[in-house]
């Protein structure tokens, strides 16, 4: 475990990591402060990455909190199966802790494979089962040969670290146990992997048509709307495109080391980023014809999109926004807002890589004060007031903070129902920001009750 942790924390593909001194590296990532933390644990992070694989079953080996409180809570959309809608857990009891629960785990895996016929089973370890020393990897290996299905251990006890570390644990399981175990039927020209896109609210379905129009084949998606088999033959792609770098750059880097697949970091949030990402794909595919096709295609799409945006632009123009989100969105959303004529006062860096931060800084022309580190609800609300911001873009956890202070808000994280990627997503984003900014409900909320006026 300790050895694995060090390998994972030492990510050569991560500039943030490489720029650290040896001493800094030893300090590893900052530990959470007891009594002043936010955010999930490593298990949470691991599950986020893998759960979209809906033709595989996901079995959580632990007590009830881990599955019971997280089950049915991921806004990922899928067409390949419905096993992500099932919550499987060993739900261990006191007796299991005393007597050990490896037998129970074995039987649980068999029960799932017989009854639900998954393509594979992912088995997650959690705090308690890791503490009592269950050998999950061995159990998975044993059962796997018995049931003749891939049974993949995901070493993800919550106490190991943050959600982000959990993302890496999951990535590691994919590369170590899954990639390279299957052969695709065919590998068409211009085949790519899309890494770190989870099809939240159907965002993949805004990206896929663009790639299709341009003749780029999506061989393996990690993991939005992915099949298990897709992960297994990801090594056959020509290029990897990493969307959420912070979470899964390690997969891309390992695919490069092991299978010589070059990778790029990109985003499909904003028209500018979409185009740049497409051009980078063409470059790595060494396909000049594709390049000129992209130029033409994007110009047409941009023109059409601006026409659709027309009703919303007057509302959005000049409005000040505080962006409090993580990873890829902390910088790419800025481009979206800029294209809509809005002004970003600050963007959060709490879940961003050094490169993400560089990209944020690029946007603000190096102004360090635009970076916003971790903050609680109070800090965020104070910043909004201080800067007279009109809108907060953040995750669901901050939604009610904003509503308490009657601040227009848009959810850009996992529980939302709207997709904001590609060209379609731009319009959707603009539409929903305009709705909240012009909603008459805020007038009602700001009005005084008769007895307060008198």
């Amino acid at each position: 475990m300790r050895l694995k942790l060090q390998t994972l924390v030492n990510e050569p593909g991560c500039d943030h990591n490489q720029s650290k001194t040896d001493k800094q590296k030893k300090e590893a990532c900052k530990k959470p402060t007891p009594g002043a933390t936010a955010g999930g644990c490593a298990f949470d992070g691991a599950q986020i990455v893998l759960l979209p694989v809906a033709d595989a079953a996901h079995l959580i080996h632990g007590p009830i909190t881990c599955c019971g409180h997280s089950y049915n809570n991921r806004g990922t959309r899928t067409t390949v199966g419905d096993l992500h809608d099932y919550g499987f857990t060993t739900d261990i009891s006191e007796m299991d802790i005393i007597m050990g629960s490896e037998k129970k785990l074995k039987e649980s895996i068999k029960y799932i494979t017989e009854k639900y016929r998954p393509k594979a089973v992912f088995v997650y370890s959690t705090c308690v089962t890791a503490m009592i020393g269950e050998d999950i990897a061995q159990v998975c290996k044993d059962v796997s040969s018995e049931v003749r299905l891939p049974v993949i251990p995901v070493d993800s006890p919550g106490f190991a670290g943050s959600k982000n570390l959990g993302n890496k644990f999951a990535g590691n399981s994919i590369v170590e146990y899954v990639v390279g175990t299957k052969e695709p039927e065919a590998v068409p020209e211009n085949s790519i992997n899309l890494i770190g896109e989870y099809n939240i609210a159907g965002e993949l379905w805004q990206i896929e048509p663009i790639l299709k129009d341009l003749g780029i084949n999506l061989l393996s998606k990690m993991t939005g709307n992915a099949t298990y088999d897709e992960l297994a033959y990801a090594n056959k792609a020509q290029v990897s495109v990493v969307i959420c770098s912070r979470a899964l750059i390690s997969i891309a880097r390992q695919l490069k080391d092991k299978y010589e697949i070059p990778y790029l970091e990109g985003s499909f949030y904003s028209m500018k980023q979409t185009k740049q990402t497409l051009l980078k794909i063409a470059e790595l595919l060494k396909n000049d014809e594709l390049k000129s096709k992209i130029e033409k295609y994007c110009a047409e799409k941009e023109e059409a999109t601006y026409a659709e945006l027309e009703p919303y632009l007057p509302v959005l123009k000049g409005k000040k926004v505080l962006v409090y989100t993580g990873g890829v969105k902390s910088w790419s959303v800025l481009h979206q807002l800029e294209e809509l004529g809005m002004e970003v006062i600050k963007s959060s860096t709490r879940k961003s890589t050094e490169e993400d931060i560089d990209r944020i800084l690029d946007h603000f022309e190096g102004d360090q004060s635009a970076l916003m580190p971790k903050g609680d609800g109070r800090t965020i609300l104070n910043l909004i007031k201080e800067h007279n911001a009109h809108l907060l873009l953040a995750g669901g956890r901050n939604m009610y903070n904003a509503m308490k202070e009657q601040i227009p808000f848009l959810d850009v994280n996992q529980e939302r129902h709207f997709a904001f990627a590609g060209y379609e997503g731009m319009v959707e984003l603009a539409r929903h920001m305009a709705y909240t900014l012009t909603s008459p409900v805020f007038d009602v909320a700001h009005s005084k009750a008769p007895w307060e006026v008198m």
Binding site: G39, S70, E107
Partner: protein, 437 residues
């Protein structure tokens, strides 16, 4: 007989952990911070879960137990967590909730607390309520009951509240199955019988949406001063069988007598409460209560044409399950097909149902029989989609639905509401059926 279906795992869990139940209680107390002693996820999952359920800011914190600390079992995380919460937020109460992880390594919370008290004498004013809630035992309801009992054990002062009282004081110990609208109904009823009622916990005030600014700690819930003087109340009312334990604490430590109502759902159960109020206070019944009873009966009469021959299955924590099951079967005449709950024994055993199971939503799906509709939390939506059945949402969590917390299930008013809601589901079934060739 409660059946346990033999299988090695839980499929689509119905059960939530004791951690969730205990945290919920502390959210209903004014200026109280629930502090979950475990890894970050135990708190983060619970926070996310309850935020979606209530659609409110849900303050809670974690001791964020991390790798080395976990293995070695040192108490620095807990000490630091308590200190940081007090320094930063100055709560009047901290609800210290343990988890499976910290219970597995065998933390002696009481010993840590006494070391903390020694080390930081300046923090003596902050009441700390430790609750042992390993998530490998019990369920959310036992965690909830344990937290209420612990608050009353730790925080009630024998001498508090002995000053002159012009009204009789009643402690209402509110079970986990109650909504904000239920608590509001009880408050109004008791006030109109001339009683001074103190509700513990008071989630209607904290999580009901009446606080209209950002808060870092719950505001306007059950006040510490009222908790301290709960031992001087004249009487306690336990709403829900699970609240008996808390009522016993007040009886044993402070000789406060109590009456327990296993359910207040339906006309008959509400009649029982009214009979008690009339006897206890000798006061006339408020006019609005009389009107509500007439309306409830009228609504039930209107709806009963569609209730006949209908069957339903219910999944939920024991108190909620018992209330719904008894009301629907004994007053609506709806047949109970399958009941699934999170405890092996309890009052629900007395219900007339074909199938009572200690289990999960997977068991519900397999034993649903010919049910016309399902009553369960939001997570049963997948079953209902697969089986093409209507879902009436109740329990935890109810998400993706607005206003659930303000739906009234108890009292005459609740009976009327459910006659309409369940009646409409049954009526639609009838209409749908009549169109089938």
């Amino acid at each position: 007989m409660v059946r346990v279906i033999e299988k090695p795992l839980s499929v689509n869990p119905l059960k939530k952990s004791q951690v969730m139940g205990a945290v919920t209680v502390f959210l209903g107390i004014d200026s109280c911070m629930p502090l979950v002693h475990g890894s970050q996820g135990c708190m983060a999952f619970t926070k996310n879960f309850l935020t979606q359920h209530y659609r409110e800011v849900t303050p809670m914190q974690s001791t964020a137990v991390f790798d080395i600390a976990t293995i070695l079992g040192d108490d620095s995380n807990l000490q630091d967590g308590l200190k940081n919460v007090i320094d930063k937020l100055k709560p009047k109460v901290i609800g210290l909730v343990t988890t499976g992880m910290t219970e597995t390594r065998g933390d002696d919370i009481k010993a840590v607390l006494s070391r903390f008290r020694e080390k930081y004498p300046d923090y003596a004013d902050t009441v700390i309520v430790p609750v042992s809630t390993p998530d490998f035992a019990g369920d959310a309801e036992t965690g909830y009951a344990e937290a209420v009992a612990q608050i009353l054990t730790v925080a009630v002062k024998p001498e508090a509240g002995k000053e002159y009282k012009d009204k009789k004081c009643i402690n209402i110990l509110a079970g986990m199955h109650l909504n904000a609208a239920d608590i509001d109904w009880l408050k109004r009823l008791f006030a109109d019988f001339g009683l001074d009622a103190f509700v513990l916990p008071d989630l209607a005030s904290t999580m009901g949406g009446q606080v209209t600014r950002f808060y870092s700690l719950p505001e306007e819930g059950a006040r510490l001063s009222d908790i301290e003087s709960a031992g001087c109340a004249d009487f306690s009312i336990a709403v829900g069988a699970s609240m008996e334990k808390a009522a016993d604490v007040l009886l044993e430590n402070h000789s406060v007598p109590y009456k327990k109502f296993d359910t207040l759902m339906g006309v008959k159960a509400t009649d029982e409460l009214l009979s008690w109020l009339i006897d206890y206070t000798g006061k006339p019944v408020p006019e609005w209560v009389k009107i509500e009873r007439k309306r409830a009966v009228d609504a039930m009469l209107d709806a009963h044409f569609s209730f006949g021959g209908k069957t339903c299955s219910i999944a939920g924590e024991p108190d909620l399950l018992y209330g719904f099951g008894k009301f629907l079967s004994e007053e609506f005449g709806i047949k109970l097909e399958c009941l699934v709950t999170t405890a092996k024994t309890g009052h629900f055993e007395t219900l007339k149902a074909d199938n009572i199971i200690f289990g999960d939503l997977g068991d519900l799906e397999e034993n649903i029989g010919k049910s016309d509709f399902i009553i369960a939390n939001t997570n049963a939506e997948h079953i209902c989609k697969r089986k093409k059945l209507p879902l009436y949402k109740a329990g935890y969590p109810v998400k993706e639905t607005l206003g659930h917390f303000h739906r009234n299930f108890i009292g005459y008013r609740g009976a009327m509401q459910l006659a309409f809601d369940i009646g409409n589901i049954c009526l639609e079934k009838d209409i749908e059926k009549s169109h089938k060739i």
